[in-house]
Symmetry: C2
Subunit: 386 residues, 2 copies
């Protein structure tokens, strides 16, 4: 496998955009990425699209050629990948693999979701399709309910507290408040988070990520081509996609996502680094408990220590290892199919030193972790400067 | 790129199976493929799934790990690809590329769709999502309407007749009547086809493929591993995926699918063969006119000659170049996400000499063509004996 670099990024703002359709969001991200990299659409040898549920949210399927044509990408393989909330993380993985293996020199990978045109109840129903509809969901669960069970169990096993969950939300809102592309730019306090509307005990509305519209795109190129482009290239040093059972009840433990743990191990091995080397990360905080699990499953702290770790300030900007300096899914927003590629964009911006007031000094090695469902798909990517 | 072989196949029957769910169909095809090849589930280094609209048809998304877990495939990348009716053709393309490029030695590729639990009207609506919902479909079109326009134009430009369309249906029903796995095993006559219920002039119900449930799976391996397995390996000699506009009105001509033409050219070039060398083919006859277009776009005959060619008997079993000896989408059935891989299975069975009374004598070189929507995605695969 030859080395691969991210040579361009493009993002729409994340938010609720009633006047925008899915395709225009995706095309905007592609065009911004082309502009950022100095590529033209006809240089893309393949187009990968991550999208979770366009057909259910907006009624449009066959989205890869639908978007590619409008973006000016013609003739080449255009492929939509669906892996629940890890759809564009998985699209990125496959695009990386194709370039690393020498199939293509230059590819574009976008992710998009348009969620806010549906009612909250319908959004919950569509999202439930990422879980086991014949099992846990037929029994009445929703994703907040599944992650509430995970949180309850984590509290029981490890003494994690509601205050520690709230600390994750407070931190991510603090970061997101500084991110001009974020969906919800407002600071909150631990008190406010704890007093939030209860969605599913122990998770309040402040423990849950946002329902958003948005898109993101990156350009990947073989490293020996990477200097042809406008932006400072960022290397993909390690990456892995793994899978596990979709149904929560099929997992041996619900306080660890085995797929995340294994994806992390593989990505560290490929990159030749250890968890301790990771300076900062974008982690999949679909719920606050998910960020805590991720810090454990990726080896930032031992299992069970994620709660105190979050409360310690280590994962805040200015701390030892900032997590979700973008604001995360919690504050930046979570247009499901866009999230994986948006995480890559956010890590790349930090490595390029383009993160403005959220810039992490001396950023050279970052990690992105994208999760599908309650741990059935995991993609971990390690990015770094050369 | 190193050589790759199909080393196993597995198919469910195609039909209407109210007692079966989507997952059980897919898992059956995987298990049959493992049995056919002599592989075990834990030898699969990746799992690719083609599925068009599971979330809309049965409410379940995140299908790749959902099916893989039940089939005994663990830990490895499990990825769903959606490309309308070319979903599993595209999944096969990406799986082939990954093995050819040396990323994996052994992968499984399945396709599945469970369509018959929805009303006919709802099926038409879900299928319409493979077209431009904001354009042609919002204007009132359905896929039969789009292909009726194509047929009308083909008649206008080239003199193609309704009788020639009917000949395609009669031939494919004749083939399918001999296929124990086919959905609709009955002979029809040209008179019956012409007198069929009009769906959209000039297409009667006999010009339209079936709404089916079913699944198919193949195992791919690097050729240097292919002899480890039970079945006679069949080489992937050439393959290409291409794209074009989703909306019919964005195409320069509606009597040629440019994406099919280009995919064919690329696949022929990779295989080092010419159209004239292809002994038999499984072509995407979602409508009778689509088979006629495919014989032209793939260079079996010059543009405009597909109608007389169909009527000549050349494409029937016993003719010079049998097309859809399986019965095609018209008679074998068209569980959308399964079709691409099922075509590969059917070509492989012919090359192995396992096609029973439908066997083509001396079959050494066959082609499969899978189409998404009205030509926005095309995958052409050329398979042969070593």
């Amino acid at each position: 496998m030859r080395p691969v670099a991210v040579v361009g990024t493009g993002k729409t703002p994340f938010g609720a955009f009633p006047e925008r359709d899915l395709r225009s969001l995706a095309v905007e991200s592609v065009h911004k990425c082309l502009e950022n990299s100095g590529l033209t659409a006809d240089q893309a040898e393949a187009f990968y699209l991550g999208n979770f549920a366009g057909p259910s949210f907006v009624g449009q399927n066959h989205l890869a050629p639908y978007i590619a044509t409008e973006a000016g990408i013609r003739d080449v393989p255009c492929t939509r990948i669906e892996a629940a909330c890890a759809s564009s993380g998985s699209a990125f993985f496959h695009a990386w693999a194709a370039v690393a293996a020498g199939i293509y020199d230059i590819v574009l990978v976008a992710g998009v979701e348009k969620m806010t045109s549906q009612s909250t109840a319908r959004v919950a129903e569509i999202l439930a399709g990422a879980g086991d509809m014949a099992g846990e969901m037929a029994a009445g669960a929703t994703f907040p309910a599944l992650f509430a069970m995970i949180a309850k169990r984590h509290m029981y096993e490890f003494g994690t507290t509601r205050e520690q969950l709230a600390q994750v939300a407070v931190k991510n809102h603090h970061h997101g408040a500084m991110n001009p592309m974020a969906h919800m730019r407002k600071e909150i306090t631990v008190e406010k988070a704890l007093a939030g509307k209860m969605i599913c005990d122990p998770l309040t509305v402040f423990d849950c990520s946002l329902v958003s519209d948005g898109a993101a795109c990156v350009a990947l190129a073989a490293v020996d081509r990477a200097r042809d482009f406008r932006a400072k290239p960022v290397r993909v040093l390690g990456i892995a996609q793994t899978s596990g059972p979709v149904a929560l009840d099929q997992k041996e433990s619900i306080t660890t996502f085995e797929a995340v743990r294994r994806a992390g191990e593989k990505a560290y091995k490929m990159a030749g680094v250890a968890a301790a080397d990771i300076q900062f990360a974008e982690l999949h905080d679909c719920f606050t408990i998910a960020e805590i699990l991720a810090t454990e499953d990726l080896g930032f702290v031992p299992k069970g220590q994620g709660g105190p770790y979050a409360a310690s300030g280590a994962t805040a900007l200015g701390g030892a290892r900032p997590v979700n300096a973008s604001g995360g899914l919690k504050s930046k927003g979570h247009p499901v199919g866009a999230t994986g590629v948006a995480q890559i964009c956010d890590v790349v911006e930090q490595l390029r030193g383009e993160a403005g007031e959220r810039q992490i000094a001396g950023a050279r090695l970052g990690l992105a972790q994208n999760l599908g469902g309650s741990g059935a798909t995991a993609v971990v990517t390690i990015l770094g400067l050369e």
